[in-house]
Symmetry: none
Subunit: 203 residues, 4 copies
DNA sequence: CATGAATGAGAGTTCATTCAT
DNA sequence: GATGAATGAACTCTCATTCAT
C-alpha cells in the first residue's frame, strides 16, 4: 500500500502547490487576471501539467474557494476555548474582521466574488461555510438564551451583526475607502468596531 | 431644427441602448467577463459601431458608473425636505437600502465591482459620489451637533452606519443570503434595519 | 460656362487640399501610418467626402506620386537657364540632392517606395518622371558631345551619376546614416558630393 | 540525446520556416503590409503558433535583419584573403553589388526597408552590421595610408564609395530601372561599376 | 508523469469603404 | 456636395485546452 500512499501524497502536494500559486497570483491580479499559463510559470511546470490535477480553470477556482472556507474556519477555531458566550461573540466579530483585512483575497473569494456555482466542490465549500455560519448562529443563540440581548430574535440579531462586519470588510476589500488616507483605513475600521460592540449591548 | 433634434435624439437613444446592454452584461459577468463583442451582439450591431459612441470599453464602464452615481444621488434628493436631522439620517439609511435592493446592478457598479479607474469620467463619477458622501457626512455631523449621539466622533459614526447598510446590501447583491429562503431575504434586511436604528440611538 | 468653371476650380481646390493634408501626414507617419480618417480629420471633412474626390486610398497615393514628380520637375526648371553643359550637369546633381534632402518624403515616394503601379495616374506620373530623366540624359549627352568626358558611353555615365546621388539621398531618407551624428550627416553628404564632382572630371 | 536533438532541430526548422515565409512577404509588401496572419497562412499554421517561436512581429523582423546581416558579413569573408588594400577595396565593392543584386530581399531588409528598431535583437543586428561597416572603413583607411588616394579624408571617401554602390543596388532592388530593358539592367550596373573603379583612382 | 506543440476562439481595436439622407 | 452611421474585415495578441510523445 505504501507506494500508492506515496503517490497519493505526492498528488496532493502538487495540488496544493498549484492552488497556492494560483492563490498568490489571484491575490495580485484578480481572478480574471490569472491565466493557466501564469500559474504554470509560477510553479515551473508546463500548462498541460495543471490539467493532470484539475479538470479546468473553474475547478481550480472551486478548490480555492473551498480552501478559503477552510482557512476561515480554522481562523475561528480558538473561539472554542472561550466559554463566556458574550466574549466569544465579540471575539467572533474581531476575528471575522481580522480575517477579512488580512486575507482580503480569500474573503473576496468567499463573500464577494460572483462565482459560477456549478461544481461539486462549490457545494462542499458551501457546506463548509455553513458549518461556520451555524457556529456563529449558535453563539448568538447562546447569548440570546443567556439574556445578553433584550431582543430574542436570534436570526435578526445574527444577521445584523454579520451585515455590519461584512460591510466593514467589503468596503475595505473592494477599495471603497479611498476618501480616507490609506494608513487610516484599518484604524477607522477598528475604532468603528469598538463603537459597534458598545452599540449591540443594548440590543 | 427638427432634423438635428431627431438625430440628436437617435444618438442619445443608441448610447442608452449600448449602456443598458452593457449594464446587464457587466452585472452578470463582471467587468473582465464582458467584451465589446458581447455588447455588440446584445444590441445586434457590429462591434465597430460601439466605437462610434464610446472611445473604449473603459469609457462605457465609466459612463455607466457615472449614470449610476447620478441615479443614486437623485434617489436621495427627497431627503432635502426633511428638516429634523435624526429623521433625515434614518431616512438616509432606508433610502440607501432601498436603492441597493432595487437597483442592485447600479449599486454593484458603484460599490462593489472591481474595475480600472483611469478615465476622466471615472473621476467625475467619483466627484459625484463624493458629494453624496458629503451630504451623508454632514447629516451625521448635524446629528452630532444636536447631541443625538453621545459620541462626538462624526467620522467613526458615519463610517459605522455606512458599513452596516453596505453590508446589508452587499450580501444581498452578491447573493450571499442563500441560507435564507428567497422570499424572506428582504424582510430580514428590513427587520434588521429597524433593529439597527434602535441600536444607534445609544451611540 | 463660368458656373461649371467655378465648380471645376473648387473641385480642383478640394483635391489639392486633400493631397496636401495627405502629404503632410504621410511625411509624419509613413504611408501605412496614414488612414483616410486621419486625412479627413486634418482637412476637417468627413471621411466619406474624400471618396467624392478619389476613388480609393490607392488613387490618393497615385496622385501624390504624380504631384511629387511635378514638384521635382519644377525643382529642376532653373537648370534651363544654364547654358554651359558641364555647369548644368553639376547643378543638376546639386539640385537632385537638395530636393532629396529637403523633400525626403516626396523623394521616397518617387524613388524608393514599393508602390502598386496599377493606376492610370501612376503611368502619367511615370511619363512625367521620364521627361525629367530625359532632360538629365540629354544634359549628359551634351557634355559627352562637348568632350567633357573621355568616355562616350552616355548611358553608363548618366547611370553612374544617378546611382551616386540616389545612393546619397536614399541612405539619408531611409535613415541608414545612424553611425554619423545627426548634425554631421548633411555636411558629409555635401562634402562627398564635392569630392564626387572632382572625380567625374576624369571620366 | 538524439530525441532532444531532433526536437531542437525541428524547432529550428520551424523558425526557419517562419522566417523564410516572413522574408518573402516583407519584401513583397513591406513591414506594415505584412500581418502575423499572412505569415501563418503562408506556412499553413495557426497565427497563435507563430507566437511560440517569436514574441511578436517585431522580433520576427529583427531576426530576419540579423540573419541578413550575417549572410552579408559571410559574403565579405573572402576579402580577408586579399592582402593588397586596393584590390581588396575594389573587390569589396564588387561583392557588395553582387550581394545586393543576388539577395535583393536581404539587402532591402538591411538598407532600405522602414521598420521599428526597438528590439534588442535589432541592436545586435546593428552591431553586426557595424563590424562589417568598420571592416570597410578600415580597408579604405589602409588605402589612404598607402597613398592610393590623393585625398586623406577617409570618412568622406568611404561614404562616397558606399553611396555609389548603395545607389546602384537600391535603384535595382526597388525597381527604378524600368526605363532600361530588364536583361540589360545588371549589365549596365556592371559597366557602371567598372567606370566607377576607374574614377576613384584619382580621388 | 510531464510536456512541447499546436490551435480555435476570442479579446480590444482600427480600417477602408458604402450608402441613405 | 457633404456626411453620419454603419459594417465586414482585418489587425496584434492571449487564452484555455488538447494530444501525441
Amino acid at each position: 500500500m505504501s507506494i500508492a500512499d506515496r503517490k497519493e501524497r505526492e498528488k496532493e502536494e502538487m495540488r496544493r502547490n498549484i492552488l497556492s500559486a494560483a492563490l498568490g497570483l489571484f491575490r495580485e491580479k484578480g481572478y480574471d487576471g490569472v491565466s493557466i499559463r501564469n500559474i504554470a510559470d509560477a510553479i515551473e511546470y508546463s500548462p498541460a501539467t495543471i490539467y493532470l490535477y484539475f479538470r479546468d480553470k473553474n475547478e481550480i477556482f472551486a478548490a480555492l474557494q473551498y480552501e478559503a472556507a477552510g482557512v476561515m474556519r480554522d481562523h475561528f477555531l480558538p473561539l472554542l476555548q472561550i466559554e463566556n458566550p458574550w466574549e466569544r461573540l465579540i471575539d467572533f466579530g474581531r476575528r471575522y474582521m481580522d480575517f477579512g483585512l488580512k486575507y482580503s483575497d480569500l474573503y473576496d473569494l468567499i463573500f464577494i466574488i460572483r462565482a459560477p456555482m456549478e461544481h461539486v466542490e462549490n457545494q462542499e465549500c458551501w457546506a463548509l461555510g455553513m458549518t461556520t455560519h451555524q457556529f456563529f448562529t449558535q453563539t448568538v443563540q447562546t447569548c440570546v438564551d443567556a439574556r445578553y440581548f433584550k431582543s430574542t430574535d436570534t436570526e435578526a440579531i445574527a444577521y445584523t451583526l454579520w451585515a455590519y462586519v461584512h460591510g466593514v470588510v467589503a468596503l475595505f476589500v473592494r477599495d471603497r475607502m479611498r476618501m480616507y488616507p490609506p494608513e487610516k483605513r484599518e484604524e477607522l475600521a477598528r475604532k468603528s468596531f469598538a463603537m459597534f460592540t458598545k452599540m449591540i449591548e443594548v440590543l
